[in-house]
Symmetry: C2
Subunit: 342 residues, 2 copies
Amino acid sequence: MVNADPGAARSRATIRDVAARAGVSKSLVSLAYSAPEAVSPQRRERVRQAAEELGYRPNHVARSLNSMRDDIVGILVADSRNPVLSEIVDAARAALFETGRLGFVLTAVALDEDGTRLDIDLLSMVADLRPARLLIVGSVPEMRLVREAMPDARIVVASAIPVDLDDAPSVHADDAAGIGLAVAHLAERGHRRIAHVGGAGGPTAEARTRAFDAALAAEGLPPGRVGLSDFTERGGHRAAGELLDAATPPSALVASSDLAAIGALAAVRDRGLSDRVAVTGYDNTFLAGLRLVDLTSVDPGNAEIGRRAAELLSTDAPAAREHRIVPRLVIRSSSEFVAPTD
Amino acid sequence: MVNADPGAARSRATIRDVAARAGVSKSLVSLAYSAPEAVSPQRRERVRQAAEELGYRPNHVARSLNSMRDDIVGILVADSRNPVLSEIVDAARAALFETGRLGFVLTAVALDEDGTRLDIDLLSMVADLRPARLLIVGSVPEMRLVREAMPDARIVVASAIPVDLDDAPSVHADDAAGIGLAVAHLAERGHRRIAHVGGAGGPTAEARTRAFDAALAAEGLPPGRVGLSDFTERGGHRAAGELLDAATPPSALVASSDLAAIGALAAVRDRGLSDRVAVTGYDNTFLAGLRLVDLTSVDPGNAEIGRRAAELLSTDAPAAREHRIVPRLVIRSSSEFVAPTD
DNA sequence: TTGTAAGCGTTATCAG
DNA sequence: CTGATAACGCTTACAA
């Protein structure tokens, strides 16, 4: 049998193979990886070389089996197709990589007949890997279950309010400030009848609507109408249509998302009101930057949210419960013009 | 010490706890999961009940440590932000779920200073989980390394041509047919000077360009110009601009992606040529369906690609090397009108 | 049909 | 600094 040949790399080399080749014990090899400074330089080098020759890589699974791992961090993302969340994830991954950690991203949310549910199987697999740190990106449902599955992990939530998870710091954009920027910008351009397209689709939407009301008041403007819309293009189109067809239509629309804003833009265009009705979006996704769209949008600073979250995750120090990132407004042609005087 | 109390669920229940509670041995519990029919109904029920009471879930990591797992399948996606790939992944996951398998998605590709590279650490972690089956979605670089890391796994490639992986079946859209649909549609509308926006950005782009040339010939049309563009909006905008500013501009543009088409649409609009120059996209992503865009696009049938891939993955039977999914054309206003006569 | 024992690859403990 | 030895949670021959 060929298998009898010890040199026949049947499959991956193990720590034993490395030890044998380097002429040391298994434990020394293990040490050489986990606490290099505790091993004499000569031996360390021999181990390194043996490992290289054999193409050895430590088995993550075996490691996770008997100790919590601080070198891997789980990233649970609520919706893998949401570009906002993707940006945050990418930034966080890059930052984690800097600290020498391996971030693996899993979409642990499944679409159920009635809404979204946490995929318990996937969650338990993540838990089995025993990551010492976990990043939750977006509004993952049933966060309590996450904590139960990983009672000892440090958890940070990005771009969502932690629910049932009162020990997890969160990093998110300051939506009130963001909406405020949009409203102030429009007011500055002379708009006085500003309406909101949004308010539906979850707590984030509701918070943005409240921020809208507050921002109008802060600018000394009369209360604005709200066309109820979720974050979708269809919703924005419908809501904007209703607002524009009213007796006294607004001259500017502040939408709760870029998609809703794009729907609103279509409604505006359909009525021949382009360059008469301003529109602003939210999130400054790549959509806003498309030449065909060219939408003024609030940039929540997703990359910074990701970085800050990674930072909070990497430390062991206690952290403030809430971290607000300051948004900025990216002005494009959808709102550049001055409000027409009635 | 509280720990002395065996009932104090320190953390997750293990197979031992279940065995103790059910009054059987560990192995029987294991058997009850892996080969239920080999265990007497009474014992099986007792095990089931004990497991439920303790909230026991098998530890995936421990399982993977000593046997290849056919219940989990790894999904390697080339670019988590590509909506086309996301659709395929979602469809595949749903189909895998039907077969009782757990599909976990990992983006194993990292952006390097020079291009994309496979994230070897992540790949080896996937390999450590020992999935019996692996789905590669999109053009993952260095596929050879994937095979090396998992020599015994069944691999299927979706939406990409397997490179260095001659034993893996692939499922992808029939791009030649797709481009053919777009060209035929335009020809039918009276267009005779049709140009292509694309050709750059990888083998897929090149294949689409060849298909474009062939399609023109098939329609009996003269060869068309190619404005070199990658899949991005910026690329499409630039390339379309050049084509439109030529001495004899085309009356229709066939783009290699929706994004490139959207860039082209902007170039068309900027020149006041809307409703005079038709544009078609490729992939029929949600972008094409936005009212503001309303782009005719080739739908490659991503959901079906995902389903077929999952199907091929789930069986053990040898499969044909290449599976082509038939695309269809979704006609929208960007190309509905009849070509203006010169 | 059930139980015993030996791994899977690694880390932790604790004598040398 | 090194090297046995015992976990980690599970599967899987092999015995009973």
